[in-house]
């Protein structure tokens, strides 16, 4: 009896609480509602639309109207002749972007951090951050200008010193696509990516350097024993995030650099989704390929996250 009474008293109390909280927080809710609405419609809406990948799309019935097709479109992709080329191209581009692109911002940050003159330091920083703000269209246009097989400044210089053959076409030859993609990517974003390490290095306690000097460490050893350990957590977090995006090869740049000569190596999953799904209007097939890409990416992210959690006790989530 007593218990029932307390329960009865307890019940309405619990019901009132959210309402009271709502009355108290209504202004906070008003401030966040636009963001919730946007995320719900434009991020979760398409996730609901992913069922398209499991249905036969029917123009007259809309996204959710077609008949269930199960994994038909996934199997169609796995069995298509474009499956391995798109996977391979995506991995090759992503792998070399990561392997070549990841250490350079760290080295750059260590070097910028070691500059003594503040004016020169400022100047170097201003210049190396700059390319990040150039649009992909302009970047690719600059590549076409500088690497043109006939008039390109850079391609002619490379030919003059014998690094590439006289008849090489850096814009069309299939072997040149990945190096050009990766190196121009480093040119554009190494400076920007170094900011986070520079900021982490600025937070290193000066006493650590002093202690190091007392122990007789030279400047190289200070880098090894003080600076690298200081930025290690940042390095690991960024490595996880980059691993998670391993199949997220930028659509824009690949698409813009793509031409009939290099298509064999430049067709990645995202451009394939665009070309097959949108251009050739195979909505269900395109959705399935896109979903496959997202799921693999997500799995990589989780894997990298788990590994770093085990190994270094650092994780994203």
């Amino acid at each position: 009896m007593k218990q029932a009474k307390t329960a009865a008293v307890g019940m309405p109390k619990k019901k009132v609480r959210p309402l009271k909280a709502l009355a108290r927080d209504w202004q906070l809710w008003v401030m966040i509602i636009p963001a919730i609405v946007y995320i719900a419609i434009f991020c979760y809406g398409p996730m609901y639309g992913l069922q398209l990948a499991f249905r036969d799309y029917d123009f007259s019935k809309g996204i959710t109207g077609g008949d269930w097709a199960g994994f038909k479109y996934f199997i169609q992709y796995f069995e298509s002749p474009m499956f391995w080329p798109t996977i391979r191209n995506t991995f090759v581009i992503a792998f070399f972007s990561l392997i070549c692109g990841f250490p350079i911002p760290i080295i750059l940050a260590l070097a910028i951090n070691a500059i003594k003159g503040p004016a020169w330091k400022r100047t170097v920083q201003t210049v190396v951050y700059l390319p990040y703000f150039i649009s992909t269209v302009v970047l690719v246009a600059m590549l076409q200008i500088l690497l043109s097989p006939t008039t390109g400044l850079v391609s002619n210089a490379l030919k003059a010193i014998g690094l590439i053959g006289a008849d090489a076409n850096l814009l069309g030859d299939p072997w040149a696509f990945v190096p050009v993609y990766v190196i121009s990517g480093i040119w554009q974003s190494a400076g920007w990516n170094s900011i986070i390490f520079i900021a982490a290095l600025a937070g290193v306690d000066g006493q650590l350097y002093d202690a190091c000097k007392v122990d007789g460490a030279n400047r190289w050893q200070q880098v090894w024993h003080v600076e690298l350990p200081a930025i290690l957590p940042t390095i690991i977090i960024l490595l996880i995030m980059n691993m998670g995006g391993i199949l997220n090869v930028g659509f824009e740049k690949t698409f813009l650099m793509q031409n009939s000569l290099n298509k064999g190596v430049s067709e990645v999953i995202t451009t394939y989704v665009y070309n097959v799904g949108l251009k050739s209007v195979q909505f269900s097939f395109g959705s399935a390929v896109g979903l496959f890409n997202t799921v693999v990416n997500f799995a990589f992210l989780m894997l990298a996250n788990q590994i770093s959690k085990r190994a270094a006790n650092i994780s994203l989530m």
Partner: protein, 306 residues
């Protein structure tokens, strides 16, 4: 005697140390000078080439300073209505888009920074999930079509209204850089969330506002992907699409035909391409120095994310 003995190895050690420190200085010097030159020279080349005679540029004679000064490229750009329409569209999309971004992101970040807001944890999780998982190209395209924003210029303003990464940066800034005492003092005086947000939080958050504003602004200015996907009409195309047609598809002289005409078209394209690159990139580069001092702060706040 003993002091003398002790001094000699010490001096040696200092000598050794300075030798390796010299090698360190040299390597640092090489890396920074190399980066500086490699990054700056292509940009510098585009600038000098835009003022030079394109024949000399193509012959590789313009290397360190403009030759055969010619403003022909710039003159041609001023006479092309498609470039200016694209420019105007981009300015409108960037300005309205960034205003919408800030109007959505800043208040949402404030709500998520209030520790006693009950739904904070779940909303944050649902938002962060979208950073790693999304519907993908085609379902998003279908949705945009469904809500009637296909080939509607509004899409260029609405899409990306809130970027979760920028939201986290802003929220972290509000949490860490605005003293909680201020909030307590304000609420004791009966200050509402709205008033506190507008009169205390916003004026104290210039740094983070500047950073996310730059991120959003540059994102809108350089946006090519969304226009490619969602806009068909020529009248709505932003600058980046016009640039692509002009620079990458060689449509500078669209409509002309014949071998002679195509050679002429090539020369014409060569003349204007450098100028077009400069004209289209200049506005972003003008904003950049003013906000540069906030970069490190902004990136650092983002790195602290939980």
């Amino acid at each position: 005697m003993s002091t003398k003995v002790a001094k000699v190895p010490k001096a040696n050690k200092i000598h050794e140390r300075s030798a390796s420190d010299v090698s360190f200085r040299i390597v640092v010097g090489i890396i920074t000078i190399f980066s500086f030159v490699v990054v700056l020279y292509p940009l510098y080349f585009i600038v000098i080439a835009s003022f030079s005679d394109s024949t000399l540029v193509n012959r590789g004679e313009v290397l360190f300073y403009p030759k055969g000064i010619s403003l022909y490229g710039y003159e041609q750009i001023f006479t092309r209505p498609d470039i200016w329409r694209g420019y105007l569209n981009t300015v409108i999309y960037s300005f309205c888009g960034t205003a919408l971004n800030l109007a959505v992101t800043l208040p949402a970040a404030y709500t998520l920074s209030r520790r006693n807001f009950p739904a904070r944890g779940i909303i944050m999780k649902l938002f962060v999930f979208t950073m790693y998982f999304n519907g993908g190209l085609i379902p998003t395209y279908m949705l945009i079509n469904e809500v009637g924003l296909l080939n509607n210029p509004l899409i260029m303003i609405i899409i990306g209204a809130v970027n979760v990464y920028n939201l986290i940066i802003t929220r972290t800034f509000f949490e860490n850089s605005i003293p909680e005492d201020l909030y307590e003092a304000a609420t004791l005086d009966g200050c509402s969330h709205f008033r506190y947000f507008f009169t205390i939080v916003i004026p104290l958050s210039k740094a983070v506002t500047a950073v996310i504003m730059l991120y959003y602004l540059v994102g809108h200015w350089n946006d090519f992907f969304n226009a490619l996907l969602y806009l068909n009409s020529d009248a709505y195309q932003p600058l980046q699409i016009i640039l692509r047609n002009l620079l990458l598809l060689n449509q500078a002289m669209a409509g002309s035909s014949g071998a002679g005409a195509s050679a002429y078209a090539q020369q014409y394209a060569d003349q204007i391409k450098f100028g077009v690159i400069i004209v289209s990139t200049l506005p972003v580069l003008c904003v950049y120095p003013f906000i540069q001092k906030y970069f490190e702060k902004g990136v650092m706040i983002g790195a602290v994310k939980g």
